[in-house]
């Protein structure tokens, strides 16, 4: 695990990252289950101990003899349980580390400026919604093109943007290619917001590490600065990307 931590994310093959994620998720689930069981057991033991102590006290009162068995049981359980919990905590920490390592460089930072949008002013709540949904769109895009998972595209993208990305995924699948978008930073400026609020145009100056892989073998690795013209429209309860088009400059 330490070796993995020192290894740059770019050197880790996509298949290994997926495997790490799966193993980490399984470990987290297992650890949480074990901790829950321990807590439940502890509560049960405590209940039994209280009952036993009560019974022992009553019988001791009757017989005037101290009970030894109950004190041994409570002593043993109090000695073993902290050890198990500390081990489980360590396992949980390791699992979380394993889970976080593959994601550490998959972050998507989005800064948005809506001051120059018009003719309609973008309200604060709308701005937050657009920022949230645009960020989700890029997370989904990166996931879909890295793991060739077309399902990730259905929510955040519609129309031409969705069709283009679906076509991307299917052609990547055909040739066993994948694309990674790492360390994404987006500086987004809203340049147009329709009078009725039914369409917003964004200019996104994005920089990220673009990696193209052929069956896990890195064939292209470049830090790129891209300019995107984006059209977003409101759906039932969120904003969707309708157009995502790279241009040489704004």
């Amino acid at each position: 695990m330490i070796a993995l931590a020192t290894l740059p994310i770019t050197m880790i093959p996509a298949s290994l990252l997926t495997a790490m994620n799966t193993v980490a998720m399984a470990m987290i689930s297992l650890t949480l289950t074990v901790i829950t069981l321990i807590v439940i057991t502890k509560i049960s033991v405590a209940t039994i101990s209280v009952t036993t102590v009560a019974m022992t006290v009553s019988s001791a009162r009757r017989r005037r003899v101290p009970s030894i068995g109950s004190s041994i049981r409570s002593h043993a359980s109090s000695r073993i349980t902290p050890r198990i919990i500390s081990r489980m905590t360590a396992l949980l920490a390791a699992s979380l580390f394993l889970f976080c390592v593959p994601r550490s460089k998959a972050a998507v930072n989005v800064d948005m400026n809506v001051r120059h949008a018009g003719p309609r002013a973008v309200e604060a709540l709308t701005e937050r919604g657009i920022l949230r949904d645009y960020r989700i769109a890029w997370i989904s895009l990166a996931h879909a093109l890295e793991f060739n998972a077309a399902d990730a595209l259905s929510g955040p993208f519609v129309s031409t943007a969705r069709d283009t990305l679906m076509s991307d995924v299917s052609s990547q699948q055909r040739f066993d290619l994948s694309t990674r978008y790492l360390n994404q930073n987006h500086k987004v400026e809203a340049v147009y917001y329709a009078p009725e609020g039914d369409v917003i145009e964004l200019h996104d100056e994005a920089d990220y590490q673009l990696q193209i892989l052929d069956g896990g073998k890195l064939i292209h690795d470049e830090h790129v600065v891209m300019h995107y013209v984006v059209l977003m429209t409101p759906a039932a309860d969120h904003w969707v990307v309708r157009q995502l088009q790279a241009v040489p400059r704004f």
Partner: protein
């Protein structure tokens, strides 16, 4: 240690040094030859839906990748020849990466720009609008090429608004970042409003139904019956003289000695009518929306 060319062993050392230099030069030469062997040059300007060619230098076989919006291709190519890019692989506007791999990989990128406008997305709001409302009608036009790319330099969009035979608006708006828009006051006459956006020979047409605004100058008449009284409005119009549509609610309020009672009646065939149970002297008032009408006083004997 000093170097001398006069000693017997110096000749051997110099030859060794010479051979080492030759070896290094050969390695450098081969390496640079390999690098130069698989260079590629991307086209400078490509339009969506048109074929293009990537030129390569060197010789031998290599693997060529084309990665761009909507396309990821892989093929074996012979270096030194041009690599044809098919029109169907260059339909989406955006940035494309051409990658050529043999021993090592080289890449070049290029942009595909949108083709000419072929489709006009035209959003007009609202679908129904009261007459004489300021900034009540708005429209947004976006031009797209045949492949669904947003045409950013679509030029000027002409907006035409006509109500019947009267021209309400004729405006040429230059598109900024692919978008042109207008906002205007609705017309004075109820009826269909035709809204047209056009770029060259490309046009999109939408209809907005202009309806009468709030009722204006409500006037009522009434007469007593044996059970009470019957009141009705004169034909209800807005301030522009447009008949208010049937179904619009008119409220009649009658005040007599026993108190106040209200009857809501929809407009039917231009007038609203209500029967009110009342005895003795009655004052009837009428309202619809924010408009108030005249008061009608009917005495007990009438």
């Amino acid at each position: 240690m000093s170097w001398s060319t006069n000693t017997a062993w110096a000749n051997r050392r110099m030859r060794l040094l010479f051979h080492a230099c030759l070896g290094i030069a050969a390695v450098v030469g081969v390496a640079s030859g390999v690098c130069a062997a698989q260079d590629l040059r991307a086209p400078s300007a490509v339009t969506a839906g048109e074929p293009a060619t990537i030129s390569t230098t060197g010789g031998g076989k290599a693997t060529f990748y084309l990665v761009g919006p909507g396309v990821s291709n892989k093929s074996d190519v012979s270096l030194g020849n041009g690599i044809p890019l098919r029109a169907q692989d260059l339909r989406a506007a955006g940035q494309y990466f051409a990658i050529l791999c043999s021993d090592i990989c080289h890449s070049a990128s290029f942009y595909v720009s949108p083709a000419r406008p072929a489709d006009l997305a035209f959003l007009v709001h609202p679908s129904r609008v009261p007459v004489a409302q300021s900034d009540a009608v708005s429209g947004v036009a976006l031009a797209f090429d045949p492949f669904g790319n947003l045409v950013l330099d679509s030029g000027t969009v002409d907006f035409q608004l006509t109500a019947g035979k009267a021209s309400l608006l004729s405006q040429s708006v230059p598109a900024h970042d692919g978008i042109a828009w207008f906002r205007t006051t609705s017309g004075k006459t109820a009826g269909p409003l035709q809204v047209v956006a056009s770029i060259g020979e490309l046009s999109a047409r939408r209809n907005v139904q202009e309806v009468a605004s709030e009722p204006c100058n409500l006037r009522i008449t009434g007469q007593r019956t044996k059970d009470g009284l019957v009141v009705e409005t004169e034909p209800v119009h807005d301030c522009g003289g447009n008949p208010v549509p049937d179904g619009t609610i008119v409220s009649f309020t009658a005040t007599d000695a026993s108190g106040k009672s209200t009857v809501d009646a929809p407009i039917k065939r231009g007038v609203a009518r209500a029967e009110i149970a009342a005895s003795g002297p009655v004052v009837v008032s009428v309202a619809s929306g924010v408009a108030m009408g005249n008061e009608l006083r009917i005495g007990g004997g009438q």
